[in-house]
Amino acid sequence: MPKVEFNVDRCKGCELCAVFCPQKIIKLSEGINKLGYHPATVKEMEKCTGCAICARVCPDCVIKVYK
C-alpha cells in the first residue's frame, strides 16, 4: 500500500502539501516540532495513492514517498 513519510522536524508547516494533495488527507498536527511549527501529517494513510505531488511541492524536502 502506498504511503508517505514525513521528516517531521524539517517541516515548516507551510501547508502546500495539504493544499495540493488530491486526496486531501494531509493536515497540520496539533503538536509542534523542533523548529516550532505544526508539522504536516497524514491520518488516513490508507487513502494515499503514492502520487508524490505533496513531495514535489514541498519546499523543504520533508516527504519520502513509497509505492
Partner: protein
C-alpha cells in the same frame, strides 16, 4: 514497496533558512535532481548570489563560489574559462540579476558564455525586507512602493527573458513557474535543458523561474502560489523563448 520519491543526492540533508512556503526550496531540489540525473555532481560548480539564496552553498552538494552582488555571471565566466570541463551555473534572484547585476548578465549572455543561469524572479527584494525590485509589478505594494509601483516614477517591470533572448550568444532561454505540480515538472525539464546546452557546448543557457515570497508579499504560501497565476504569469508569460538552433 519501493521508494518513488526521496531527497536527491545532490541536495544537502539540512534545514534551510528559507521562510515557510518559500519556493527557493523547490527550485534547489529541481537543480539537485537535474544534477543527479545528469551525473555531474562531482564536476559542477555553483556561483551563489547576494540575496536570500546567498547560502545556497550550504544546500547543494556541489562546489560553490559566492560572488559579489550581481557579479555571479562574471565569476562564472572566469571559472568556466579556467576549468572548461566543469559544469558551471549561477543561482540568482531578481534583485541580483535584474538590478545590480544587469550589466554582467547581459554581457555574459551576449558573449555566449558556456554557463547556466538559474534566475529566480519573485518580483521583490526578499532578503532586505521586501523593497521594490526592477521586476515588481505595476501597482504592487512593497516596502518602498507603499501606494503600489508607479510606472511613471519607477518604470516598467523588466522582462529579462525576452530581453536576453534577442542576443545571439544565448542558446536556451525559458521562463517557467513553480507554483503548481504541473509547472514544477515543466520547470525541471527547462533546467535540464539549460544544463544540457552547456554540456553540449552550444552556448549560454538560462531559465527564469517565477517564484514566491509569501513573507514579503504578505500572503499565505498557498495564496502566494495563486498570486503567481493571477498576477505574475499574465505579465511574465511562460514558455521557451529560445531553443538551440532557432530564434523564436
Amino acid at each position: 514497496m519501493k521508494v518513488v520519491f526521496e531527497r536527491p543526492r545532490a541536495l544537502s540533508d539540512v534545514t534551510t533558512h528559507y521562510c515557510p512556503g518559500c519556493t527557493h526550496g523547490i527550485i534547489h531540489r529541481l537543480v539537485a535532481e537535474v544534477i543527479d540525473e545528469l551525473g555531474i555532481l562531482e564536476r559542477t560548480i555553483g556561483v551563489a548570489p547576494v540575496g536570500c539564496a546567498v547560502l545556497a552553498y550550504n544546500y547543494l552538494e556541489c562546489d560553490w563560489q559566492q560572488a559579489a552582488h550581481g557579479r555571479a555571471p562574471a565569476v562564472a565566466t572566469g571559472i568556466k574559462r579556467a576549468l572548461p570541463d566543469r559544469v558551471v551555473f549561477t543561482y540568482q534572484g531578481d534583485g541580483d540579476l535584474a538590478s545590480i547585476g544587469t550589466a554582467e548578465i547581459v554581457h555574459a549572455a551576449n558573449r555566449g558564455e558556456r554557463i547556466t543561469v538559474i534566475y529566480v524572479n519573485n518580483a521583490i527584494y526578499g532578503m532586505t525586507g521586501g523593497q521594490m525590485a526592477p521586476t515588481t509589478l505595476e501597482g504592487q505594494v512593497t516596502a518602498t512602493s507603499p501606494r503600489g509601483r508607479d510606472i511613471k516614477q519607477a518604470g516598467h517591470p523588466m522582462r529579462m527573458a525576452e530581453m536576453l533572448a534577442t542576443l545571439p550568444g544565448v542558446s536556451y532561454l525559458a521562463r517557467v513557474a513553480v507554483n503548481k505540480p504541473a509547472n514544477i515538472m515543466k520547470a525541471k525539464k527547462a533546467i535540464k535543458q539549460a544544463f544540457m546546452v552547456q554540456i553540449d557546448d552550444l552556448g549560454f543557457g538560462m531559465v527564469e523561474i517565477l517564484s514566491t515570497c509569501p513573507t514579503n508579499w504578505g500572503l499565505q504560501p498557498a495564496k502566494a502560489m495563486e498570486w503567481v497565476d493571477e498576477k505574475m504569469i499574465p505579465y511574465y508569460p511562460l514558455g521557451e523563448f529560445k531553443v538551440p538552433g532557432e530564434v523564436k
